[in-house]
């Protein structure tokens, strides 16, 4: 018994374990791109997972306690291009750790407390271009074993403990180095010999920010050429800064960045003499950022920057630009967040690019003379413009870029006369006045980009965009339209590829609005109030790829027109609408299901109506629900029709059916005739033409006994009446008329009939009143009078309906008792007897 128990004891917990572990947890990494990119960040891995395919190119192993990298750790992944080992607690990297990674271009080692770096740690790595060794407790550049990485372009050694800027000899091997970041280290002094090895490089960008630099030996940068040098938050005070900048003498640098960081400010008072040393540096672009206590009088400050081509002043308390040197050769000027009180009246003929943004002190625009200006950014100043815009405002005819966004009121007084070269125009979030009263943009035939979003513009004038024949991008979100209807305002915009109409409170689209936009690729109509959209209006948009109709109130698109949607469409956003999921929009709902690969967030599309489907997914709509309703309706209609047809047929062929069903074996039994007709010879016409014709030739055909035809000649009339008439007939038809009462024979016949009926208990008498009778005349025949008063009789009416009813009733009466056995006859005659008496 023991082995089975042991087996069970093993199996049960093992199965419980297997049930708890989801299949994915065997695989420690997330597959981002199959076989290429794997993300193993923070998976508590102590070693490199072996389950990753050897074709991997991007591998993120960050935040795993790998602790050390042994030799050839990555040899299973020879295709690796990017390897992230951030914060892997790596203390030791052995020789040839990256052996075999011949294609690795980026190696990230940020945040590892490396203590032991073997001399051959980075051997191999034939293609390495970027090495990030930020915060790795590096205290010296001297023994860092990267001298063989000739392909290296970017070396980031920020946030370490390096205290000497002496670049070791191996830097002369790094001939491709473009970017060296030594910021946030502990470099205090820079000596002449430190940069000795860099003398042959021209393309290097060097960042030395956040080092507490005290001293730069004047020959250190002499005859050196750098692409960029950044010195931010390096100096304790103006004096240090002054001497250090003087120490940069002889440097040729494309871009020099000086200043501090907002949160790292050391210089209490900034003196303009600090920049005197710039005169002995050859600078192309100069930037100064974040300096408190900027001197109020700036005269003399820019004297060493006269020949610079680009100046950028960011977050300085400049207040004004009074006192700028006259013969400046600046081509580009940036004044960002400089608290300048008034819009400066600049006269700078050389200036091509002027950025004056986020200077909240200036409140209105003044005319300036910048004859060669091509690029003008005046955004985010909260300024107002009394009359915009023409050549006179800036004295330039070369302007291509104009940004007036995020300002106050801008009154459109002119239509860009002299500014015909404009390609980019941005007014967003400024208040445009009079923009919809005339063709403001008429002369801008070269404009490619126009943004008038959120400018409080109410589009009422159809020609608002006239003349913009080259326009490719039009953004006009957050405005409004007359009658909330999108009308034909895009006629000239035949080259438009991007159109944003979101948040415009639109409810309707007029016909043919998009007919000229055959190049349009992107159309945003979200956040409007559309209820029903006409797919037909999108038909002319042959190249449309993205259509966004989200956040509207759309119930449905017109079902028949859905095929008119452009076939080029790749993305359609219909989320957050009020879809009606009732059967009347069945074709639209089916279309949504068919196009789900096109739709953004198809699963999130929800029904708002009918109530029983509220908040349910549109995709859960089933055609079968509608089919069931249809089937029910169809079946009902068909059955009603069938029943009515049958009823009509039964009515029409009632007597045929009677014959077929119940009276098939009908025979007159011993009787020869169905009825003996008592009538006056005056009524002969009626009897021959109507009675005989209808009863003997119709269905069922009755055989009547008529005196002129059936009485045997040579026999007494009375005998004929009894022998042929009563004796051989089942029933008696009495045709009562004026003549009948007056005819003695008729009365005789009638009286015999009564007697006969009484004696033989035989057939009933059927009265047909042929015409209205005079009462006095009728009273002569007391019996008849009483009978007609008490009994039902048939009255002849000479119209279509009357005749129809008459013949049916008569036939029915004659059919009574038409049974083969004749017993029915007997019963019937009894009933008639009782009714007669």
């Amino acid at each position: 018994m023991k082995p089975p128990w042991r087996l069970a004891g093993t199996l049960i917990p093992a199965m419980a374990f297997l049930a708890c572990v989801s299949p994915g947890s065997w695989e420690p990494c997330a597959e981002v791109v199959p076989n290429i990119t794997y993300d193993c960040m923070e998976r508590n891995l102590y070693k490199i997972p072996s389950s990753i395919p050897s074709s991997v190119k991007h591998l993120d192993l960050s935040f795993n306690p790998l602790r050390f990298l042994a030799s050839q750790s990555f040899s299973p992944f020879p295709e690796l291009q990017v390897l992230d080992l951030s914060r892997c607690e790596i203390q030791r990297i052995e020789d040839d750790a990256y052996w075999g990674l011949d294609y690795l271009s980026t190696l990230i080692l940020t945040g590892n407390p490396i203590q032991n770096l073997a001399p051959g740690a980075f051997s191999g790595l034939l293609s390495l271009q970027k090495l990030v060794t930020v915060e790795i407790n590096l205290s010296s550049l001297e023994n860092f074993p990267i001298g063989h990485l000739r392909t290296l372009k970017e070396l980031n050694m920020a946030h370490n403990l390096i205290n000497s800027f002496k670049l070791p000899e191996y830097f002369s091997n790094l001939t491709n180095l473009e970017y060296l970041d030594l910021s946030n280290n502990n470099i205090q002094n820079i000596y002449c010999k430190d940069l000795h090895v860099l003398h042959d490089t021209f393309n290097l960008s060097l960042d030395l920010s956040l080092n507490p630099i005290n001293f730069i030996q004047p020959c250190a940068f002499n005859r050196m050429r750098l692409r960029e040098l950044t010195l931010r938050s390096n100096f304790d005070n103006t004096d240090v800064m002054k001497t250090c900048i003087q120490g940069l003498a002889g440097l040729e640098v494309h871009k020099l960045v000086l200043g501090e960081f907002k949160n790292e400010r050391y210089m209490k008072e900034f003196d303009k003499s600090a920049l005197e040393g710039l005169c002995s540096i050859n600078i192309t672009e100069f930037r100064l950022a974040f300096l408190d206590d900027f001197p109020k009088d700036i005269s003399g400050f820019f004297d060493c920057l006269v020949n610079v081509s680009a100046v950028s002043l960011v977050n300085l308390n400049l207040h004004s630009l009074e006192g700028l040197p006259k013969d400046l050769k600046w081509q580009s000027l940036e004044l960002i967040k400089c608290k300048i009180n008034q819009f400066p009246k600049l006269v700078l003929p050389s200036l091509k690019r002027y950025v004056f943004t986020a200077n909240r002190g200036a409140d209105s625009f003044v005319k300036v003379e910048l004859e060669n200006l091509e690029f003008l950014d005046l955004s985010s100043n909260g300024m107002s413009f009394k009359s915009c815009c023409d050549q006179d405002d800036w004295k330039t005819t070369s302007l291509k870029y104009l940004d007036l966004s995020f300002n106050d009121a801008i009154t459109m007084g002119s239509n860009f006369l002299g500014l015909e070269l404009l390609e980019y125009l941005d007014f967003q979030h400024s208040t445009l006045k009079q923009a919809s009263q005339f063709s403001v943009f008429l002369s801008l035939s070269k404009l490619l980009y126009l943004d008038i979003s959120y400018t409080h513009t109410e589009v009422a004038f159809h020609g608002i965009f006239s003349g913009l024949v080259s326009l490719q991008v039009l953004k006009m979100a957050g405005n409004s339209f007359k009658d909330n209807t999108l009308s034909s305002i895009f006629t000239d915009l035949t080259n438009l590829t991007f159109l944003d109409l979101s948040k415009c409170q639109l409810e309707h689209v007029s016909q043919g609005v998009f007919s000229s936009l055959s190049s349009l690729q992107f159309l945003n109509m979200s956040y409007n109030n559309f209820i029903l959209l006409d797919a037909l209006s999108f038909q002319p948009l042959h190249l449309l790829q993205v259509l966004d109709c989200s956040f509207n109130k759309i119930e449905s698109f017109e079902g028949q027109e859905l095929q008119h949607f452009p076939s080029s469409l790749t993305t359609l956003n219909l989320t957050r609408n009020a879809f009606d999921c009732s059967c009347k929009h069945q074709s639209f709902l089916q279309w949504i299901k068919d196009q789900r690969q096109l739709l953004v967030g198809a699963e999130q599309l929800q029904c708002m109506m009918p109530l029983d489907m509220k908040n349910m997914s549109v995709l859960s709509f089933r055609n079968s629900t509608c089919q069931i309703t249809k089937i029910v309706i169809a079946v009902t209609v068909v059955s009603v029709v069938v029943v009515s047809v049958i009823a009509c047929l039964v009515y029409k062929f009632y007597f045929h059916l009677m014959l077929l069903a119940g009276c098939k074996k009908y025979g007159r039994g011993e009787s020869t005739y169905d009825a003996f007709v008592i009538y006056s010879s005056q009524d002969d016409d009626w009897v021959r033409n109507e009675l005989v014709k209808n009863l003997e030739e119709g269905v069922p055909s009755f055989r009547l006994c008529l005196h002129y035809r059936d009485f045997i000649p040579g026999v007494a009339i009375a005998a004929n009446i009894i022998q042929e008439g009563f004796h051989k007939s089942r029933k008696v038809i009495v045709v009562v008329s004026q003549h009948f009462i007056q005819s003695r024979w008729c009365i005789f016949e009638y009286e015999i009939a009564q007697t006969w009926q009484f004696l033989s208990s035989h057939a009933g008498i059927i009265f047909i009143v042929l015409q209205k009778l005079e009462k006095s005349l009728l009273r002569q025949q007391v019996e008849l009078y009483r009978l007609l008063n008490r009994n039902t009789y048939l009255e002849w009416e000479d119209n279509v309906l009357g005749r129809h009813i008459f013949w049916r009733r008569l036939r029915k009466a004659l059919m009574d008792g038409k049974s083969p056995e004749g017993t029915g006859d007997l019963e019937n005659s009894h009933e008639e007897m009782t009714s007669l008496t």
Binding site: G9, P13, S233, F261, N263, A289, F290
Partner: protein, 162 residues
């Protein structure tokens, strides 16, 4: 029984849901400051990590340019960094505020451009106006994210003023 023990041991060793992943359980609630009737509590809503935050001065009459301390180990590069703050009072969004902290072209703070895996400590003023905090309980959602819209830090804070 050896089999049972072996299986149990294996289960304990490999069992998922151990706290190392940090995904399952919520982070603890920390106190950023508590003084003079004002209490600020916060809890990290980033499943990847917790962080440290404190406010130096804490009073109902909030002073301008408060000094704060903030410390985190970055899970993302922050070449660009943006801040979103939403203030919720009684279930309604009272204030939504978005602010660029680091921009690629104009790094404003010294921590701009720091790398994934690098420590980031900030001690200094924030650019807030001074105002009076009214009595009540407020919820604040704070999120820091980078240019790839990846969350750098995220917190649910509660401000109780009594």
């Amino acid at each position: 029984m050896t089999g049972f023990v072996a299986a149990l041991l294996l289960w304990t060793l490999v069992s998922p849901g151990s706290s190392d992943w940090g995904g399952g359980s919520a982070w603890p609630t920390h106190t950023a400051c508590r003084k003079e009737g004002l209490e600020v509590l916060y809890q990290s809503c980033d499943p990847l990590q917790d962080f440290g935050f404190s406010v130096d001065q804490c009073a109902k009459h909030l002073k301008p340019n408060l000094n704060v301390r903030f410390g985190i180990i970055l899970r993302e590069d922050i070449r660009e960094l943006y801040l979103d703050i939403a203030l919720i009072s009684k279930g309604d969004f009272v204030l939504n505020y978005s602010y660029p902290i680091c921009e690629a072209e104009l790094p404003k703070f010294s921590f701009c451009g720091r790398k994934k895996g690098e420590q980031m400590n900030y001690y200094g003023p924030i650019n807030n106006p001074g105002f009076e905090v009214y009595e009540g309980k407020y919820q604040v959602l704070v999120e820091l994210y980078n240019e790839k819209r990846a969350t750098v830090a995220c917190a649910n804070a509660t401000i109780i003023c009594s």
